[in-house]
Structure formats: C-alpha cells, structure tokens
C-alpha cells in the first residue's frame, strides 16, 4: 500500500546509510506515512498497548533475573529478598507480576475486538493465526513465570499443568517425566522453566514482528470492515494520527496498571503463593491465574481426564480456525444484527467460565460449567458456520469515507 508521503533524505549521512541499509525509509513507511483507516475507534489502540506491555515485561523481567535464583531451595527466598532488600525490588516485581495480568487483559480485549469486527477474515487469516500463536506463547510464558517464585500455588499449579501431558495415550507418563527431569516437579523443572521463561518473550517479540509485517501487507481492518480504496479519502497518516491516539490509549491503560502496582498489588495473586512450595502437601483449593480460568473451567467440566484435556486445548485451537468457521461474507459485526447478539452471549460465556473456574468443582458449579462449555463450543462450531448462511445483514457502506460522512 502506498503511504501518505515518501521518505526523501536531505542529510548526507542519511543518504549514505539509505544506500546501505534502508532502515530509516522502512521505518518512515511503516510508522509515519503508513495509511490508517479514518474510522478506527479506541479498541484499535490495544495493539500498541500490547507492544508496550511486551517491552515493559521484558525490561522488568531482565532486571528481576539479576536478583532471582532459579534453584528450588533458594528461589522463594530470593523472591522475598527482591521484595525486601533489593532497591526498588518490590516495585519491579509488582510491575512484572501485575504486568502479566495487564498483558492478558489487553490481549483478551484485542481478541474480542478482532472477533467482533471480523478482523480474521480474508485476507487477514495469517495475521490472525500469528496472533493465536502469540497467545499460546504468552500462556506458556505466563504459566512458567508463575512457577518461578516457588510458592505453594507455583508448585501445585506446575504439577497440575504438567500432568495434563500424562493424559496423552501410551507415552504420556514418559513425556511428563521428561518435562520434569525427575519423577515429580522439582529443581530440574524449576531450572528449565526459568530458562524458557527468559527465552519465550523474545520468541513472542519475533512473532509480533511477523504479526506487524502481515498487518502492514494486508492493512488494518476497521469498524466498518471495508478496505481502504482511496488512500487520500479513506485514511490518515499513521503519524501523527495513530501515534497520538495510541499514546493516549497507553496513558489511560497505564493508569489502571499503576493502580494495580501501587494500590492492590496482590489482588490478582493467590495468598497461598506466599507459602514456600511443599511437595508433600497440596493446598485445599488449587486455582490458576485468572487469565487461565475459562480454560481451566472447561477442563474440569468433563469427568474424563483425556477428554477434559483435549477439550481445553481444543478451546484454544479453535480460534485458529475462525477464518473458515465464520461463513459470513460481511466482515464487521456492526452490520450483522444476529451475530452481535451471539457475540455478546459468547463474551458472557467466556466471563462466566472464568468465574466458574475459580469456584470449587462441586454441585451447581459443575453443571453451570458444563452448560457454558457447550455454549463456548457451539459459538464456534454451530453458530458461526450457520449464521453466515441464514443471517440478513445490513447494507455495508461502499467506502470508509462514506461510512464516516454518514455519521456527520
């Protein structure tokens, strides 16, 4: 796509560099002249918010690793040392642990936005699938990070999650022993989780690079789901328009992030994780971090080990197939009256599953979790394929400019 301006170096050094590594003109095309649809709303600032969170997590993580000891007899104490002795250690750790929650909060909004406005539809399938891969990497990174403080919830969370692999027929037990590096979660497990927890964010950064690359090839989707036809009429240059809007989005998001760090830093954590890991005693109620709860609820709602594990992974894997499960020709939910209703039912289902994942697995909670699990899968496997065939959609504007002018 042609941008709003071209990069024309005047400075001699810049010309010299351009002839050898055109990084400045590339940045200009990508982040200055790049045409962004005129009609983007604030839900579109979450991409920038997520980039910010990734950088924040990497920076706080790298400095925390300077004080942390990945050894099972010292890990817990080293985290307490960070909290009490290390200069600003408490703030860095709270920023990192709450940063994970903020990162997931933002990614869930980003994903729901993508679903509502049909951002996964052609030609953005690869862009969407790269996003699902980033989500999976985030889950692995978040899980392994939660194990590092080596508290009770760290240890037993690690035990439950690694035991998911023991459900694999025939080789499950060997795979779990291999993952642990022993016969249970122990020092070798902690050590490798630390290594991978340090590695994966950089893998995420690389896939984010691909994600942004794919985005810049196909262009951004927008609330009306119409592609840019005339760059001058339908779009505005990324800088200053998107840059400023994203900055405001990040600033507002930072208020929430800072509120968690400075006022309720342990609200999203679990008190049991301030008890050192004890392999001989399971806490009475094991709960994963909040961002895994909907999937945990699906796992527990099925009274068969293998089927439960398969359903949980399927719930995530299905996201990658969205571009083909949704049969509607109309991209944006804005012009799909029935889809809108089902979208909000789906959102309520996901939040409901999250609530049930935190409740004990008994009585009415189990029944409710089963109903909501059915609702979750029905959205992907029944509603979306059928809706595209039967739904009567509203007329879609011909261009973004038309959509914008119609409002004024």
């Amino acid at each position: 796509m042609h941008g709003h301006s071209t990069f024309e170096p005047k400075n001699g050094f810049v010309k010299w560099l351009e002839a050898r590594l055109p990084i400045l003109s590339f940045s200009h095309e990508s982040f200055v002249a790049y045409p962004t649809p005129k009609n983007l709303n604030y839900w579109w600032t979450f991409g920038a918010i997520l980039s910010f969170m990734l950088v924040a997590q990497i920076i706080t993580g790298v400095v925390l690793a300077m004080h942390y000891t990945p050894e099972s007899t010292m890990a817990f104490d080293s985290v307490e040392k960070i909290m009490r002795d290390v200069n600003w250690g408490w703030m860095l750790r709270y920023a990192h642990s709450n940063g994970a929650s903020m990162f997931f909060f933002a990614v869930y909004i980003h994903m729901f936005r993508g679903i509502y406005y049909g951002s996964y539809k052609a030609p953005r399938e690869v862009l969407w699938i790269l996003g699902v891969i980033i989500f999976l990497l985030m889950m692995a990174t978040g899980f392994m990070g939660y194990v590092l403080p080596w508290g009770q919830m760290s240890f037993w969370g690690a035990t439950v999650i690694t035991n998911l692999f023991s459900a694999i027929p025939f080789v499950g037990d060997q795979i779990t022993v291999w993952l642990w590096g022993g016969y249970s979660v122990g020092n070798p497990t902690l050590n490798r989780f630390f290594s991978l927890h340090y590695l994966l964010p950089f893998v995420i950064a690389a896939v984010v690079g691909l994600h942004v690359w794919a985005l810049h090839v196909v262009g951004q989707n927008n609330p009306d789901g119409v592609d840019i036809k005339d760059v001058k009429k339908d779009s505005v240059p990324f800088t200053p328009h998107a840059t400023m809007k994203d900055s405001l989005g990040i600033a507002v998001f930072l208020l929430l992030y800072a509120w968690f760090i400075f006022f309720v830093p342990n609200y999203l954590g679990d008190a049991d994780n301030y008890i050192p890991a004890n392999p001989m005693k399971t806490p009475p109620h094991i709960v994963p971090e909040w961002y895994f709860l909907p999937f945990y609820a699906i796992l527990r709602s099925i009274p068969n080990k293998l089927a439960g594990v398969v359903a949980m992974f399927a719930a995530i894997a299905l996201l990658a197939f969205l571009p083909w499960l949704d049969t509607s020709k109309v991209r944006s939910g804005k012009y799909r009256p029935l889809f809108k209703i089902f979208f909000w039912i789906f959102a309520a289902t996901a939040i409901g599953l999250g609530y049930l994942g935190a409740m004990p697995p008994e009585g009415g909670y189990v029944l409710a979790a089963r109903l909501l699990s059915v609702s979750y899968f029905a959205f992907f496997l029944v509603i979306l394929p059928v809706l595209g065939l039967v739904e009567k959609t509203k007329p879609v504007p011909a261009t973004i400019a038309d959509a914008v002018l119609a409002k004024h």
């Binding site: 035990t159 035991n163 993952l179 590096g181 122990g186």
Partner: protein, 172 residues
C-alpha cells in the same frame, strides 16, 4: 540433476538421496542429546530407592514417606479395611484390580500418593470409601487405593517394593 529427457534414475540422483539421508541422520544425532538432556539425570536416578522401617506404624494408621520427590502412602490396614478392600466386585471397578494384586501382605498397602488425575496428594481416611479423597478435583479412592469416584482414570499406583525383613521395606 537428471536430464529432463530420461526417467531412469541416474548415479547423480542416487548420490543426492544418499547425501540427503546422511545429513538427516547427522541432524537427528545432534538433536538427540539436546532432547535427552531433559530426562532425569544420574543423580536423580541414583536416589531412586529408599528403605523404610514400618515396625512403628500402628494398625489403622497411614504414614507418608518421600520417595523420588513424591509421597508414598504406607497404610497399616485394620481387619475391617482389608475386608472392605477384598469384598468388592472387581468387575464394577473403573480400573479393575483385585486387592490381592495390589498388596504383598494384606495388612500393608503401599501406594504412590499422587492422584492419577492431575497429580495432587489425596487425603487419607476420607471420602465415601474411607480410603483417600483428592481435594483438587474430587477423586475418591477405597482402602485398596482404587479409584471409585471422580475424574481420575486409574488406581493409585503401586510402586516397586520388597520386604527386607518383617519390619523393613525397600521401595524402588
């Protein structure tokens, strides 16, 4: 490359495939140590067995010892518990196993104290069958450590063990 006009494999095709196959074998040989390093190391394997003095365990008590980083339950069963464990129609069980296949001496039940669902530690003398109850996801085991209710697929595992004397057991 084979010329376009012939379909016969040439000597060059053979060399190409043979070289490629060797490269694949070489790559696999390099990757294997990188994968296998994650398996339990020599020091972990060296701690694979442990000896326990069971003489001091009174009837009706369950003692938990640590073996390979995991709890092992040693249950000194009462006659009532033994009877309950034996008087079960094996065919009705999820993981059918007679009590006799799970013990060497009926009064001593030795099982790994790890729930076969997702690895939590069940609580002794609890649950509907007075065996074990797992607080995580509600699996219920009987006095033979067999799964009776809940999501776990298998009975509590019986480790390899032997009686060295009447009061000494070697586990592993």
């Amino acid at each position: 490359m084979a010329s376009a006009s012939t379909v016969e494999p040439t000597r060059r095709d053979f060399l190409f495939i043979a070289t490629g196959a060797m490269a694949a074998v070489g790559a696999a040989a390099v990757v294997w140590p990188l994968i296998n390093q994650m398996s339990p190391d020599a020091s972990t394997l060296a701690m694979a067995s442990t000896e326990v003095d069971i003489g001091s365990i009174p009837v009706g008590q369950i003692v938990t010892i640590k073996w390979r980083g995991k709890p092992v339950f040693i249950s000194h069963r009462s006659p009532k518990e033994i009877e309950e464990a034996q008087n079960v129609d094996v065919a009705t069980l999820r993981d059918p196993q007679p009590d006799s296949a799970r013990v060497k001496k009926p009064e001593w039940l030795i099982v790994i104290g790890v729930c076969t669902h997702l690895g939590c530690i069940p609580l002794g003398h609890q649950g509907d069958y007075n065996g074990w109850f797992c607080p995580c996801h509600g699996s219920v085991y009987d006095t033979s450590g067999r799964i009776r209710k809940g999501p776990a697929p298998l009975n509590l595992a019986v480790p390899e063990y032997s009686f060295l004397t009447d009061t000494k057991v070697k586990i592993g």
